[in-house]
Symmetry: C2
Subunit: 332 residues, 2 copies
DNA sequence: CAAAAAAATGAAAACGATTTCAATGGGGAA
DNA sequence: TTCCCCATTGAAATCGTTTTCATTTTTTTG
């Protein structure tokens, strides 16, 4: 034996032709029950496993999809990846990981993937545009996360923000501040959460309170905390959970009690959120549906028999935890 | 054109043979400079890309390695994965992700991978033993994380614990407690950190203080906190960062000042560690070297020309942050 | 200058499956 | 009985490379 068993070995062992064995296994044509069971038996006995490369050569399907990602240290990325994996596995497809910190790595990975190695590409690299990716892919379908054209996936951040504001309002808060996130700004437009906040405040006739935490890091949150706590603000929408945790750290350090002094709403429901004290009330992106939709768009591009999903609008959901509470007016 | 350009197209376009083109590209035999440059030119012009499946068919190398992982929600896993990716990419190898929550999924993924789809397997599934994995892989090299036999990778948890204890001792702490981790227990042996702690305490003639946080979760840490703070313990080695953050949460809730009341040392340097207040002093596993070593063992198994790495002993390193401080005797 | 060595290229086999085209045999209908 | 159809199966082509074996041309050497 050559080390591994081929379909020819199975055929010879039974005295039938290769095509019979192939068809018995694939079920693509009628094979008598007797022969079929003999084949199954022989396959087991000889330990035959269909060869991946040979199969791919004919079918032109690898059952692999390349996923371009900038880092695995980012919990948002890994959560997304997990959901992509779940969605793809329901199509019996595996992910080939391409981690590219620099955009050029992304480009060369794309070239490497797109020579028949993968059936399609999921691109999550923020710097790599859909158009360029499609260009480089040379015919292999590409779907760029949150930026594909057909059957758009829109994330209604504004609606999420309104939910959060309504929640705070109901808790009695009126002096509500915001720390906008620059990472949610897209092609020239400001953070949609910020816009929604401004609109909503105007609607209620309350003057907006805007604080900045450039970079959106814990450190930035920590640094803006003092001016925030010095104001008479009673609740704040932080741009993300990291900024929120920076606020919390400074509060603990200064002996400011949370959430009594101030209610804090984070954004992203990152793993951070359950660890802070108090744990963060935050806006979560339902990544499951997002991934399912994105994957379905790709599946349609790969195989038109798969139907194109309906356009989907996603609204971030409020996860209420301990960092928010009813406002008690100290002057009463 | 059939949609994509083959090596035959390039050959015809130049009026040379397929083998000439193939050799010009691979460099496996001398080709006259003139012809070579013509080939390169034509490749560019026609947009030729070597076909993955056909190449694999001959070389029996896919440049892919399957990585079995139980979840991507676990930050330890993703950090490890990131390092695996880094180590593999230096061999121009990509990872095929196999997420298996249940062991049976792991088994079937292994079978799916090992029919020529990957050149090797990195198994990180705790439930899937090396022997069974090798059995299922049917000839494809498998390396099981931290459990491969040749060129062992030992992680000297005991040494890490001694480092942490020495650190606390130097800070003046004598009443040092431990919360052992059951997840570090291996084949019947208790958590090596726990053993090292007991030894060391005995050596110093100090009686050990043992607290339990079953499950090693934040919640478990939270629940054991009261009894810990009720004792006269001044420092504690928590089994992992989650447990440590549970302690911290309870302390904040009760108005217990940290690290003044108690120094806390975590374990794992998970993303949690920088987010708590105070940020956690913790023992970090240097995953880079670990991944490099593990990958090198696999590379050797795949291609004996790659040399087998020396056995490696890894010592967790202490990352000092804000959760530890010098002990000030309140009675003085 | 002839023979051997070296350099450059071509032709065809191999890789292991799928798929197309062709053939066989048995059973029912005319 | 003869013919046709259908159910089964075989033989061979195909996918696009790499690799082996063979050939031609050029250069070197005694």
């Amino acid at each position: 034996m050559n080390g591994h068993v081929t379909i020819a070995d199975v055929a010879n062992h039974l005295g039938v032709s290769k095509s019979t064995v192939s068809h018995a296994l694939s079920g693509k044509r009628r094979i008598s029950a007797e022969v079929r069971s003999q084949v199954m038996q022989a396959v087991k006995e000889l330990g035959y496993r269909p060869n991946f490369a040979a199969r791919v050569m004919n079918t032109r399907r690898t059952g692999l999809v390349g996923v371009l990602v900038d880092s695995l240290n980012n919990p948002h990325n890994t959560a997304l990846l997990e959901e992509f994996g779940r969605a793809l596995s329901s199509h019996s497809i595996q992910m080939v990981l391409g981690t590219a910190d620099r955009i050029d790595d992304g480009r060369s990975l794309l070239a490497k993937f797109c020579c028949g190695m993968v059936d399609g590409i999921l691109n999550t690299l923020p710097e790599l545009g859909e158009d360029e990716a499609v260009e480089l892919a040379g015919g292999i379908p590409v779907v760029t996360y949150r930026r594909h054209r057909e059957s758009p996936l829109v994330i209604d951040f504004a609606a999420g923000t309104r939910t959060a504001l309504a929640y705070l309002f109901k808790l009695g808060h009126r002096h509500i501040a915001i720390i906008p996130s620059d990472s949610r700004a897209q092609n020239g437009l400001p953070d949609p959460c910020f816009s929604a906040y401004c609109e909503q405040m105007e609607l209620m006739g309350i003057s907006p309170r805007i604080f900045q935490a450039p970079g959106g890091t814990l450190q930035a949150g920590y640094e803006v905390a003092d001016s925030l706590f010095a104001s008479d603000t009673t609740a704040v929408l932080a741009g993300n959970d990291a900024v929120a945790s920076g606020l919390i750290r400074r509060a603990i350090e200064c002996g400011i009690r949370l959430p009594e002094r101030m209610s804090i709403v984070g954004h992203d429901d990152s793993p951070i959120a359950v660890v802070t004290s108090p744990p963060l009330t935050t806006l979560r992106l339902p990544l499951g549906p997002i991934a399912t939709h994105t994957v379905q768009v790709l599946m349609h591009a790969i195989d038109p028999a798969e139907l194109m999903p309906e356009p989907l609008t996603i609204i971030p959901e409020l996860i209420a935890r301990g960092s928010t509470m009813r406002f008690n007016n100290p002057h009463k």
